[in-house]
Amino acid sequence: MTGNDIVDKFTAAAESNWKRKGFLEKLFTGQEQQLIGEASIPEDMLWRLWTMKESAYKIYTRQFGGRFFAPHKINCTILSNTSGCVTLNTINYQTITRSTKNYIYSMARLDKNAQQAFLNCCFRLPQWTYAKQQAFIYDNIINQYAVFTGTIKNGLSLKKDKDGIPFLSCQGDMSVIPVSITHHGHFAAFTIY
C-alpha cells in the first residue's frame, strides 16, 4: 500500500502564509518546528515534512478507515536528504521525498521491504480550472494503468469510497485497485500498488 502527496512550491507560496501566528504550531511537533527553523530553506523543510505526514496519513486511513485532522499525532523523522520515517499511532511508514525547484513530492509505504509502487507518476497540469484538472488527472490514471497492464481502458473507472479514498475498478471484476492521488497547484501525481 502506498500514499503520496505533492506541494506546488509556487502555489504554496501564494496560498499559504506559513509565518502567520499559530500556523507552524498547529501543524508540527516541537521537534519538527526545530527542523524547519534550522533548515537552510525553511519552506522546503516545512513542505517536505507536510507531504511526509500527508502521504503516511493516506495509507493509515486506507488501512483503518475514518478521517481526522491531527497533524500533531503524525511524527516525522528525517533519515537523509530523501528518506524519512513517519509514525502514526505506533505504526511506522517509510517515505521518499523528491524536491525540485517547482514541487516537493513524498511517497510513503508501509514498510521498507515492501515493493515499490508499480506505477508512480508525477506530471504538470495545464492551467485549467480545478474541476478540469481533476478530470484530466483521472483520465491520465486510467490511460496509464490500461497501457501498463494491457487492460482495455473502457472497462476501467476511478471511484471514491465514503471517506473519499480513491480506487480503480475494473468492469466485471469485483477486486479494486488502490490508487493514491495528489493534486496541488499545477502538479499532480499518483501511485498504484
Binding site: V7, A12, E15, S16, N17, R20, K21, G22, F23, K26, L27, W50, E54, R67, F68, F69, A70, P71, H72, K73, Y130, A131, G164, H184
Partner: protein, 84 residues
C-alpha cells in the same frame, strides 16, 4: 448566534480557500471542507486559525481533529464559546 448566522460567517471564512465553487454555493451544515469544498489540507489550518481569530477562541488539537465539516466546526465553536 443563530445557526444561519454562524453558517454565513463560516462561509465568508472558507471562501478564499475553496476550490469547488459549486460546493461553496451549496454550502450547508453537512458540507465537508475537503470532500465538498475541495479545500487543500494545508489550508484547513488557515480555516481553523481564521475561526480562532473571528470568534476569539482557542481550538486545541483534540477539537481540531474532528473539524472536517461545517457542522463539526460549529459544534467546536459553540463549545468553546460556552467555556468563556
Amino acid at each position: 448566534m443563530s445557526k444561519d448566522a454562524m453558517i454565513e460567517k463560516l462561509k465568508s471564512i472558507v471562501k478564499p480557500y475553496v476550490k469547488n465553487e459549486e460546493g461553496f454555493n451549496n454550502l450547508n451544515a453537512d458540507s465537508d471542507f475537503m470532500k465538498d469544498l475541495k479545500i487543500n489540507s494545508a489550508n484547513l489550518v488557515d480555516v481553523i486559525l481564521d475561526i480562532e481569530n473571528e470568534f476569539d477562541i482557542l481550538i486545541d488539537n483534540e477539537s481540531m481533529e474532528k473539524m472536517l465539516t461545517v457542522q463539526s466546526a460549529m459544534d467546536t465553536i459553540n463549545a468553546k464559546l460556552g467555556e468563556k
